[in-house]
Symmetry: C2
Subunit: 112 residues, 2 copies
Amino acid sequence: MTPTGDELVVMLAALANPLRLRIVARLSGGRDYVSRMARDIGISRPLLHMHLQRLEAAGLITGSLELSEDGKAMKYYEVTDFHLQLTASAVAEAVQTLTPDPDKSPASKEQT
Amino acid sequence: MTPTGDELVVMLAALANPLRLRIVARLSGGRDYVSRMARDIGISRPLLHMHLQRLEAAGLITGSLELSEDGKAMKYYEVTDFHLQLTASAVAEAVQTLTPDPDKSPASKEQT
DNA sequence: TTCACCTGAAAGAAATCTCTTACATGTGAA
DNA sequence: TTCACATGTAAGAGATTTCTTTCAGGTGAA
């Protein structure tokens, strides 16, 4: 349940944007489909699409393609109930499961 | 105490980076000064300097310039005890104190 | 003086993120 | 058929982030 270090980075990066925060805030009030949100928020649909993908990739929202009564395909998104606890020690723990950066490790310099 | 929407974005952006997470993790184990951390972590001092500034600007760490016994200037950093609660509704609340995006507001189109 | 340590900051390359415009798909109704 | 709605994706400009290299200052000790 606790995200790995890498997952945490993805989640934080997804939330570290005003527009995406607005999107999450909006969806926390109920599910909605792409085109309507784009109209309401006042941004282009492709742009919203991109932000939604980013949020979904982070596991913060989920989307499902549904058919409306009149037969149109609508993609509804809703928030997942994530809850992250961010403190220095929580970060310290998450870092342990962070993919090592091949470059910066102390590594023995012998034997390439 | 609860950060505004704008502050939250800055904090999240500061944490949304593997290297900066490592820095926070390290400082959570005790204060340290710049050059030593750079050596240990294995990155250049200017680069570390930049990341530290970013974390300090977000209020996650604080630095203080001190004089060591042998008279050298050392900049020590330590973590602040931040704790962020990240949930959809917390985001919804923070968004209310987000600086409005002049562009995307519904705004009356008359009278430029 | 020269060396080893500490600090800060500027310049530029490379990668990533954000956003717009444009194109292509499908449906039901007029 | 054409319109109004829905979906997705690709191409490119512009801004930001990340990182290296280079320069500048300071201290105490050899």
